[in-house]
Assembly symmetry: C2
Homo-oligomer: 190 residues x 2
């Protein structure tokens, strides 16, 4: 686990062993059972979470009462509700484990402290945020220019492991289409 995290960090910034150790001392391990919640609507999100192993979904309930998945998180991703965390407002989303998941929790207070002690950590998170933004911008591009069928096939080729780990109706929700339509696409492919 430690080794994974160190490697992950060093993809973004240069940092000494001691500094990684300091960073780690702020992280609190946490385990979620399948279907357990990390955050529920109405609560204020106070931490960032690094997924060491498992799978998470972030979703909200739309005006029609449907669960709308905004995104997934898997191994080596950070997940949090930035809106609630940054503005310190009640969250509008749910964060829930899709399978048994192991996390490292970084409370926002610790994060702020850490950034003052180690400016590289601020750099790390700035860079992660840029990558995350690039990913979501790319997704918006796809949403606009691909048909539902192209969207689904592109997603599955790019993330083959998801088809195994995540129920189909959740992938449908993430891609903004009905589960019945996904069934139709799959039937067509045979």
């Amino acid at each position: 686990m430690n080794q994974n995290l160190t490697e992950y960090i060093r993809r973004y910034i240069s940092i000494s062993e001691d500094e990684v150790a300091l960073f780690q001392s702020y992280l609190m391990p946490k385990t979620l059972k399948k279907r357990e919640f990390l955050l529920k609507e109405g609560k204020i999100c106070k931490s960032r979470y690094y997924i060491t192993k498992g799978c998470i979904r972030l979703y909200y309930i739309d005006t029609k009462g449907n669960e709308q998945i905004i995104h997934f998180g898997i191994d080596n991703w950070w997940i949090t509700d930035y809106e609630s965390l940054v503005n310190e407002t009640a969250s509008e989303v749910y964060i829930q484990a899709i399978e048994k998941t192991e996390l490292l929790e970084l409370p926002e207070k610790s994060f702020d402290e850490l950034c003052h002690k180690l400016p590289q950590i601020e750099r790390l998170f700035r860079k992660i945020m840029e990558k995350t933004y690039i990913a979501i911008q790319k997704r918006v591009g796809y949403l606009y220019s691909l048909t539902g069928e192209e969207l689904f096939n592109t997603f599955i080729s790019a993330n083959p492991e998801f088809a195994q780990r995540v129920p189909q109706y959740m992938i449908a929700s993430y891609l903004g289409m009905s589960p019945e339509f996904v069934s139709k696409i799959k039937a067509k492919k045979k």
Copy 2:
């Protein structure tokens, strides 16, 4: 101009007059005529740009040959192609002035230097990135749960100045709908 920028920065971080002056010394003023390009497909993006006054669009040409607007930039927004900037790869997008626009250019080399001298600048950009991410995530939520008509009306109420400054067919593109459909929505409202 200076005053604006100082105020803008102080919304995110605490910083002294001298430090703001140092930051400003790295910024290069630039003016774009209407329809002039800041970046074209194939070029590598090397700077971040702060819009002091004007209006910009970032778009790409999709597989069907249509211009797809990813987002707009107006007064007091940073704009750049993060994908090209961060990965140092050829850009897939165009950044173009919709009206006469004044910018401050921050070359990425200067930015890196600056972040080492003033860690608060790294914090500033980390926080801006988080806000930008919150905005785009919210937009994805809207894209999924609103109908085209709701999407258009929500956008116009939230950004009334855009209806004045930006041609309707560009708003249609930004919202992922045809210009004809926007005409239909408007006709209905009367």
